[in-house]
């Protein structure tokens, strides 16, 4: 899948592809797609697609309001620095037996994914006994906010995301 042309998939003649794309954009919180989602909400010929655009637009607007951006999220996920002791501690807990994998690139990728997932979980829900060690990593930036599992992905905002997008990107919408 070409992730750099997701918004082009919103022009696909098949409504199922448009719905699928709207769901993906909402899931990954690609806030740069808000104007395109808004356009679909206003102009798509299929009522079902417009309804999904309404749902996706609301989620994207919530992400936009809390300052989420893909570029920042990528930076925060990959660029943060962690103490070497902490890295070793996590490497010891990796679930995958890397020695069983022959491909070096696959080893690196799996280790990276597992490491990042564990780090993400630990940073968001620190165990009580680890509180002291976390204090040494105060410089760590905050991870991207997660959607509250108890409420995702239902709509939460009470204001009109459509009007807000109209106000924020009037040229794009009119163009």
């Amino acid at each position: 899948m070409d992730i750099f042309n997701l918004t082009n998939r919103l022009r696909d003649p098949d409504p199922r592809v448009r719905v699928e794309t709207l769901r993906i954009l909402a899931m990954i919180e690609e806030t740069r797609a808000l104007p395109a989602v808004h356009w679909i909400y206003k102009h798509d010929p299929e009522p079902g697609v417009r309804a999904v655009a309404d749902w996706a637009g609301d989620l994207l607007w919530q992400a936009h309001k809390r300052g989420h951006s893909t570029a920042d999220a990528v930076n925060e996920m990959f660029e943060r620095s962690v103490s070497s002791a902490r890295q070793e501690q996590f490497l010891e807990t990796l679930e995958v037996d890397l020695l069983q994998m022959k491909n070096i690139a696959a080893q690196r990728f799996v280790a990276e994914q597992d490491y990042r997932r564990k780090m993400s979980e630990a940073l968001q829900v620190p165990a009580p006994e680890e509180t002291d060690s976390f204090a040494t990593d105060e410089a760590l930036p905050q991870l991207p906010a997660r959607v509250d599992p108890s409420t995702a992905p239902e709509r939460r905002s009470t204001d009109s995301w459509q009007r807000a997008v109209d106000d924020e990107w009037p040229d794009w919408i009119e163009g």
């Binding site: 992730i3 993906i24 990954i28 990528v74 990959f78 994914q113 990042r116 997660r146 995702a152 992905p153």
Partner: protein
């Protein structure tokens, strides 16, 4: 069908299991595989699964795959010297053809 796409299909099918534990296992596996072709299936779970925790897990996996793909794309080195030379040749030929057409009018 390649081996990786067969594996991907198998994990995606697991997302359709009525057992939430199987779906959870499928989400974790797809996150580890890291293929962007898994995004539609994860997005379906995110949008429609009856279990809120699985919806959140699918979103986390989808974001990880998406961000990783962006990072990989950013890390891809530019065109090699040979590729740039070939591109320059093609451009020069196109320019020459365009000029020739202009002159013949």
């Amino acid at each position: 069908m390649s081996g990786s796409s067969v594996a991907l299909k198998r994990w995606v099918q697991r997302l359709r299991s009525p057992d939430p534990e199987m779906r959870e296992e499928g989400i974790h596996a797809l996150e580890l595989v890291g293929d962007t072709d898994a995004l539609p299936a994860l997005a379906e779970i995110f949008a429609t699964d009856s279990d809120p925790a699985l919806r959140a897990l699918a979103q986390q996996a989808g974001k990880t795959i998406y961000y990783s793909a962006i990072r990989r794309a950013l890390e891809t080195p530019g065109a090699s010297l040979d590729e740039r030379l070939r591109a320059a040749e093609i451009l020069a030929q196109a320019r020459s053809k365009k000029d020739k057409n202009k002159r013949s009018r």
